[in-house]
Assembly symmetry: C2
Homo-oligomer: 170 residues x 2
């Protein structure tokens, strides 16, 4: 009888927790991450891919960097996938990676951060990368997501002041 009561109380607590804070992320990082190497090997190594890469995480809190890169990379992958035949191996892998990014977007409530993300990216220039470097950014983004998943999203992200001469963030 005492055990049943404890169970009921636990359930009520859990329900209250989810109502207040939203359900925690299930793991969006499917086995598709293991296909990144196959995808890179299956692209010409001199193919030029454009990306607004934010290399230094120093001037941004990790979760703010994550918002920016998840938005940027998911958009680029959505464009990239349509450059392949729908029956190709690369299309399938890119589709699976795009799905991971969509899940992460939901998971970190990216739609609530779009004002910051878009303002930040407005001031970053497109870079040109070969496939290995482009997909290193994908892997780094997944690593940061794993690192801070469900924690450390508590500070507000603010666009740093930019250097008027360079037009880039300092």
């Amino acid at each position: 009888m005492k055990k049943t009561k404890t169970w009921i109380i636990t359930c009520i607590y859990l329900q209250l927790f989810f109502v207040c804070f939203g359900s925690p992320c299930t793991n969006p990082l499917t086995d598709a991450v293991n296909d990144i190497e196959k995808l890179v090997g299956n692209l010409p190594n001199d193919y030029i891919m454009r990306l607004k890469r934010v290399p230094a995480k120093d001037h941004l809190a990790k979760h703010c960097w994550l918002y920016v890169m998840v938005h940027e990379l998911s958009n680029r992958l959505e464009l990239l996938v349509y450059k392949f035949s729908t029956t190709s191996q690369n299309y399938r892998i890119l589709g699976d990676l795009s799905l991971i990014f969509r899940e992460i977007r939901n998971c970190v409530h990216l739609n609530e951060q779009m004002e910051f993300v878009e303002e930040y990216l407005d001031n970053v220039s497109d870079g040109e990368f070969v496939p290995r470097d482009f997909f290193n950014s994908v892997t780094s983004t997944f690593d940061v997501f794993k690192d801070i998943n469900n924690t450390n999203y508590n500070t507000t992200c603010v666009v740093p002041t930019s250097d008027p001469e360079l037009g880039e963030y300092c």
Copy 2:
């Protein structure tokens, strides 16, 4: 007894034929030609590939056009294959296509035509093609090879006179 004699005579004739004219080509066009569509679909459709394409067959006899394109395409494919990981699907397909070109080179005795081919290509500029157009040239080359295989190689190939202003063949 008569049948055996006829067989022996036939064999002697065949042996003499091969000694005098070389063995006819076995078909070098393996099933890999069916993978061209898969390869094209597996390459980004905006990837730029360089090629000295000789579009008009009018000013060259078919077999002379074939010599030029087989040499040019086989060299380009040999360079292209190394842009992919050795374990990738594209590497495998390109390797198989390169093998077909190597067989065709032997088949048409291309090494005996290298003076003409190199002199001809010296006056053709590199063009830039997306994968579908590049591989359309591969398919056209295979088609011409099938069309004239073992026949019509009898005229000598001569580099046409070039227009000194355009620096290209007229």
